[in-house]
């Protein structure tokens, strides 16, 4: 009964606060909220696919956010607030994401969202967050359109797709000394965008693009394209596309006796690559927006804590979800302090999130620029040194 009463009270408080969003209401409601023993509740939602094909990554986002929230519980208790995580399942589906976003918007006690995994869900859902002024931080969405729309609520801690291609080009040309590069792409928004970004950067860096060919998603026979590759005899192949085609291209290229290394984007960051190409995978490279957290000592310690807590190893995005939540809580805390100990309106929190500068996270440092991209976001280059996933991290490229 007590909990119910408290919740109702918080609801009323939140309604009043959101309704006017001014100091006068804050002082008016302070009398009633003091009586709660556990303090006022601050809810933060996560949205990620908790069911379906990418539920492993989606759950990792939820757990990472949850871990950060639990780490900050005491801090907020001192301020007189209790934290609560509200996980939503967007099923990797834009329609479901938008429907959830409406629910989140309607719940006035939710002040922020951590999510989504898929850019395709982030883009329509963030329009709803913008309507309700709820700050959003994505630990995983990389499409340029996510932040290019310049919404006030949208932020992300990972790198953009148009940074990944050039980063891969830099590694291919400067580190591996590639001179004659063949580019293959799958004609999708992702694959072509990445391949184009790679091609432009590679040409600027002085490499020759000896061919630029397209393939069709779902095809199994890439011998035609590979015949062209063979006749051009490149010393490096870049592939913009998904792992199902990427794995087959690697395999069929090796079958033909093409030995040039193949490189792709974060869509090849999947154990599916190894399943398809088997031993032929060795030497294949991919860029990714997520770091190997176990490379540093504090990161290793964090990963051990994660494993101890949840009984499973962190996924690539776990640490980014952790950092996203930490950034969010930092901003909430700061705006409470600025507001004289009261929880301010969502607009204030939204602006406080965007104002984040030089935040030290577990996986990445965070500073949002004026459209919500992280200035410290990096791209990491991995290489399959054996037929096992994941590959080993061989380089990191910062802006």
């Amino acid at each position: 009964m007590k909990v119910k009463g408290l919740a109702a009270m918080v609801f009323v408080l939140a309604l009043v606060t959101a309704g006017c969003g001014n100091k006068e209401t804050a002082s008016g409601s302070s009398g009633s909220s003091n009586s709660g023993s556990g303090g006022k509740v601050i809810k933060i939602a996560t949205q990620s696919p908790l069911s379906g094909g990418s539920s492993i990554q989606g759950e990792a986002i939820k757990l990472g956010a949850q871990m950060s929230m639990e780490d900050h519980k005491e801090e907020f208790a001192k301020l007189g607030y209790s934290l609560e995580l509200v996980p939503y399942d967007d099923q990797g589906d834009a329609k479901k994401g938008v429907a959830n976003a409406e629910q989140i918007g309607a719940d006035q006690s939710i002040v922020g969202v951590i999510g989504h995994l898929n850019s395709g869900v982030t883009i329509p859902s963030s329009v709803v967050y913008e309507k309700y002024n709820i700050a959003m931080i994505s630990p995983a969405s990389t499409a340029t359109e996510v932040t290019d729309r310049k919404l006030k609520v949208v932020n992300r801690v990972v790198a953009r797709d148009d940074f990944q291609g050039p980063a891969a080009a830099e590694y291919a040309i400067k580190t591996l000394g590639a001179k004659n590069i063949f580019v293959i792409q799958d004609k999708t928004a992702y694959g072509q965008g990445l391949a184009d970004a790679f091609r432009t950067a590679a040409e600027q860096a002085g490499a020759t693009i000896s061919g630029y060919e397209g393939i069709t998603v779902g095809e199994k026979d890439f011998n035609g394209v590979l015949n062209i590759v063979q006749s051009k005899n490149p010393d490096f192949i870049f592939f913009g596309g998904m792992y199902a085609e990427g794995g087959l291209i690697v395999k069929q290229a090796r079958d033909k006796g093409i030995t040039a290394p193949v490189m792709g984007g974060d869509a090849l960051d999947s154990s599916g690559m190894v399943d398809i190409a088997k031993d032929d995978i060795v030497g294949t490279l991919y860029s990714s927006v997520s770091t190997d957290i176990t490379k540093t000592d504090p990161g290793k310690k964090w990963a051990d804590q994660y494993e101890q807590k949840f009984g499973k190893k962190p996924e690539g995005y776990s640490a980014y979800a952790y950092d996203s939540m930490s950034v969010m809580l930092e901003a909430v805390k700061k705006s409470i302090e600025d507001n004289g100990g009261q929880l301010p309106a969502r607009e204030k929190i939204r602006d406080a999130v965007r104002a984040t500068k030089d935040f030290e996270g577990v996986a990445t440092k965070v500073s949002f620029d004026d459209i919500g991209d992280n200035s410290y976001a990096k791209v990491f280059i991995y290489k399959f040194e054996a037929a096992s996933y994941p590959g080993s991290m061989v380089s990191e490229v910062s802006k």
């Binding site: 094909g53 004609k187 061919g211 630029y212 060919e213 397209g214 393939i215 069709t216 779902g218 095809e219 199994k220 026979d221 011998n223 035609g224 394209v225 015949n227 062209i228 063979q230 006749s231 199902a244 794995g247 087959l248 395999k251 069929q252 079958d255 033909k256 006796g257 599916g272 399943d275 398809i276 088997k278």
Partner: protein, 328 residues
């Protein structure tokens, strides 16, 4: 330009031949059913896909029982193909019984829609089963024959480059030729074949000649689907990776091959398959060169379907078919 096309030509021909052989055997299934029932069995592409999955499953079972080491590779290959043929053959018969026979008297369009229904059901059933265990429906199988040899085609003339051929490609060609030759002999030389041709010509008259039409239809579906299933195994072995959606576009191209050769004509289907396969491979290897990069390899499919349209407009009976005369 010409020199670079010639350079890759031997390799293009070999890759095209392997693909064409697959199209040809799948096209046989379309052509046989059409020849007998004048029904385009659009579920045939999915039967092919099911064959690929059945073959791969059997291969996995062999591996987990540890039989592969004990048996010679060609024998297990043969066994896998036979099992896949039996399963898809029965599947084809089942589909005929459930989805086509009740509609045999209905307008043609109804059975066509029914065929599409069956193909979607098959896609999703296979997808459901395939992802039961791992949540991933893209299945990768091991190749039984992984050898590769280089053909010294540059010795013929220096304008050609060397070509390489996989052991598996040779097996595809051999099996495809065996299947096609076997079918040709069956249809032209056996009593069952005569009955089949009789039903194809005139169902009613054939039934008056004490031919059990239903039996012949079932037999046709069994043979056509078994051939499709066998090709599925060949496909899975050649390309290594299969998913529940491989049947659709491949089925469409095989259907085009059947139309090109003259639908209902078995030798025409074989010819059409090989032509489409080589043409597609040639297009995907050389389109960029021929058009100076304005069209890339991704436009290769346009060719198969352009042929379909051209054939339908100018020679609807196909290259080998005879124009159907009004029955009097």
């Amino acid at each position: 330009m010409i020199s670079s096309i010639l350079q890759t030509l031997p390799q293009v021909l070999i890759d095209g031949l392997a693909l064409g052989a697959i199209y040809a055997v799948v096209a046989l299934g379309y052509t046989m059913v059409y020849g007998i029932l004048e029904l385009i069995n659009f579920a045939h592409g999915e039967i092919f896909m099911t064959g690929a999955f059945v073959g791969t499953t059997v291969l996995f079972m062999f591996q987990s029982f540890g039989w592969l080491g004990g048996l010679p590779a060609w024998f297990s290959y043969l066994l896998i193909i036979l099992i896949a043929m039996m399963v898809t053959g029965s599947l084809g018969v089942g589909i005929e019984r459930v989805a086509y026979r009740p509609l045999r008297k209905a307008p043609k369009l109804i059975s066509l829609i029914s065929a599409f229904g069956v193909s979607f059901v098959l896609q999703d059933v296979v997808r459901f089963i395939a992802q039961l265990k791992t949540g991933n429906y893209i299945v990768t199988s091991d190749s039984l024959f992984s050898g590769r040899m280089t053909l010294d085609t540059s010795a013929i003339s220096s304008v050609f480059g060397n070509a390489s051929i996989k052991a598996n490609t040779i097996i595809i060609l051999i099996v495809a030729v065996l299947l096609m030759a076997g079918l040709d002999i069956f249809v032209n030389r056996t009593k069952w074949g005569v009955a089949m041709r009789a039903v194809a010509q005139d169902r009613e008259t054939a039934s008056l000649m004490s031919i059990n039409v239903n039996k012949i239809v079932v037999l046709t579906f069994f043979i056509g689907s078994a051939l499709g299933g066998a090709t599925g195994v060949l496909f899975a072995q050649q390309y290594g990776t299969i998913d529940p959606y491989i049947g659709f576009i491949l089925g469409m191209k095989a259907f085009t091959a059947a139309v090109l050769g003259g639908i209902g004509n078995i030798r025409g289907a074989m010819f059409g398959g090989i032509v489409i396969g080589i043409l597609e491979m040639f297009a995907s290897s050389n389109l960029g060169i021929l058009t100076h990069g304005s069209f890339g390899a991704e436009y290769k499919d346009v060719f198969a379907f352009m042929i379909l349209i051209i054939v339908l407009i100018f020679k609807p009976e196909g290259l080998f078919g005879r124009a159907v005369k009004e029955k009097v």
